[in-house]
């Protein structure tokens, strides 16, 4: 099977077939339309979709391809290239732990270990109750206040295991 067809098989319906009904389609189309006339709009559009849904639903792929007049394979290739774009919904909260040099020097590894064992997930995983996704990040620009984490887009510095737990308790209902 040619590569192209396999992409499409994996990532939605093939070529000419009409897109199946999807409740979110009008919202997603509106997001895409907002970028009409903006050159090179694929990344901003994917960010907008992810901000809206929390991830890039595969059903959005044909809509994006159509809106930008590019192939689905291109959209899929871009989504796959950038680590930010998720193809599955994350947990209700996303906790990113910096594991780059400065944070390493200040104990981010024990912090990461602690969080993994307390949450019962590996880095990159989501807790069974769907509450928290735990991720690694390489530098949050908070290196003078290491170790640093980011919870739901907010930065925290000098994070001890106890402080990380307090943050999570504060974030969870």
């Amino acid at each position: 099977m040619p590569k192209r067809d396999r992409w499409e098989e994996r990532n939605g319906d093939s070529g000419a077939a009409p897109a199946p009904h999807w409740d979110e389609a009008p919202r997603i189309r509106a997001l895409i339309t907002a970028y009409e006339g903006v050159p090179g709009a694929l990344l901003p559009i994917l960010h907008a979709i992810q901000d809206e849904l929390g991830y890039i639903d595969r059903r959005a792929i044909p809509l994006v391809a159509e809106g930008l007049n590019i192939s689905r394979a291109e959209v899929v290739g871009v989504i796959g290239f950038y680590t930010d774009f998720r193809e599955e919904p994350p947990g209700r909260h996303v906790l990113k732990v910096c594991r780059a040099e400065s944070c390493q020097a200040m104990g981010c590894e024990p912090l990461a270990e602690h969080l993994q064992s307390r949450l019962g997930v590996e880095m990159g995983g989501t807790t069974a109750d769907g509450e928290v996704t735990l991720e690694t990040v390489y530098c949050l620009g908070n290196c003078a206040l290491s170790p640093a984490v980011m919870l739901d887009g907010r930065l925290y510095g000098r994070v001890t295991p106890a402080r990380a737990e307090a943050l999570l308790v504060g974030a969870r209902p």
Partner: protein
């Protein structure tokens, strides 16, 4: 009215600056004291964050690190009057860490409200652009060449020479691209500046646009910096609203506008050709060269790609003249360089110094690295792209190009 300053820089917020600001507002209200609570960027003395400053006739007086719980006691002790006492650090500008720096690029960072054009102007902002608007494009480029400014993104290519190439391309759509991917771990100068003095970058990019004949600029900000992205986007809107971006920049008859774009978590997109691919909406793969981006860059058009700190140096060069800037530094490295001290060090932060400072001066002098621990500690300069050295072998100065000639 008493002016009180609390940073809204992401790093300061990361250790509670927001709660401190709220506590200060609460205390002032409870005591019926009218204060003007100004949110600034960070001074870059991160071990003192959250840092609170109060304006006094003698200058700003600093307190820090301040926790929200301490605020009532500090106010009792005379914080609103800048009185000395526990937690008081004296005049901010007299703190040796700051007093021993040569701040050109970061002169306003942590000092002004980053979203106030009035304050930006009152502290010397837009003088460079005013001068550039009165010059021929080629003259602006030659001023930057004469300053000796070399790219701050790692490779150290002379900025003015790059601009010359773009200026020499036939008229048509050209682009200015600011690289704010700041991918090397241990670095945060780009982030601080975007949050603490965004108009400086806007001014620098605008001068670049006028110099080479580009009407459109992009800044590519890594997605790990959502706060900086929001701050910069806000500053763009303010500048546009004031006519400092748009069809007729500053009434000088030239068009220039900027769009902020968010990266998506790919380290390679800090490399300039991958960055251009990414801006075009593609996977961030490295392009073959030639052609150079200066000849065929974004969307196939002539493009200046510079690190954000390179642009940020330009307003000073235009405002004060190339000779002023070239007077700082040594050898082929002219001007100042922001160093970022981080890791297991007492005084982590941002140090802007003329080129020529040694690693020992930086780490022991500014960083106050505990000498006992130092002799065998590995020390890493500037991030992934440069080598690690052992402290024992760190003098004479390392050859790291990001720092030194």
């Amino acid at each position: 009215m008493t002016r009180v300053f609390v940073p809204a820089d992401a790093a300061a917020l990361s250790v509670g600056a927001e709660d401190v600001a709220e506590a200060i507002a609460r205390e002032a209200a409870a005591r019926g004291v009218a204060i003007d609570l100004v949110r600034t960027g960070s001074r870059g003395m991160f071990w003192l964050e959250p840092l609170v400053e109060v304006e006094t006739p003698a200058g700003r007086v600093a307190y820090g690190p301040v926790s929200p719980a301490e605020v009532p006691a500090l106010v009792d002790g005379g914080l609103f009057e800048g009185k000395p006492g526990p937690g008081c650090l004296g005049l901010t500008e007299a703190i040796p860490y700051l007093a021993n720096q040569e701040r050109l690029t970061f002169a306003r960072c942590g000092v002004i409200d980053p979203f106030s054009l009035d304050e930006y102007r009152a502290h010397g902002g837009y003088r460079g652009l005013d001068r550039a608007l009165a010059m021929m494009p080629g003259e602006v480029v030659e001023e930057v060449v004469a300053s000796g400014l070399r790219g701050r993104g790692g490779a150290g290519f002379p900025t003015g020479v790059k601009w010359r190439t773009v200026l020499a391309q036939p008229a048509g759509q050209k682009y200015i691209v600011a690289n704010a991917d700041e991918g090397d771990s241990g670095t945060f100068a780009d982030r601080m500046l975007m949050e603490g003095d965004p108009f400086l970058l806007i001014e620098g990019m605008t001068i670049a646009g006028i110099a080479v004949g580009a009407t459109k600029g992009y800044i590519y900000i890594r997605s790990e910096y959502p706060h900086a992205f929001r701050a910069f986007t806000r500053a763009i809107h303010i500048a546009r609203g004031a006519g400092l971006l748009g069809e007729d920049v500053g009434g000088g008859g030239r068009a220039f506008d900027i769009e902020a774009r968010l990266g998506a978590g790919a380290y390679i997109c800090g490399e300039e050709t991958s960055l251009l691919e990414s801006l075009e909406g593609k996977r961030g793969t490295v392009r073959y060269r030639p052609p150079l981006p200066a000849v065929e860059g974004l969307f196939g058009q002539p493009t200046v790609v510079n690190n954000l700190l390179s642009y940020a140096a330009v307003p000073t060069i235009l405002a004060e003249g190339a000779a002023f800037y070239a007077n700082y530094g040594m050898g082929r490295s002219r001007g100042t360089m922001p160093l970022q001290l981080a890791g297991n060090i007492r005084q982590g932060g941002l140090v802007e110094k003329a080129f020529g400072i040694t690693l020992r001066e930086a780490i022991e002098g500014f960083g106050a690295a505990p000498p006992a621990a130092a002799p065998f500690a590995p020390c890493r300069s500037a991030g992934r792209s440069v080598r690690t050295c052992r402290m024992r072998s760190w003098t004479p100065p390392s050859t790291t190009r990001r720092w030194l000639p």
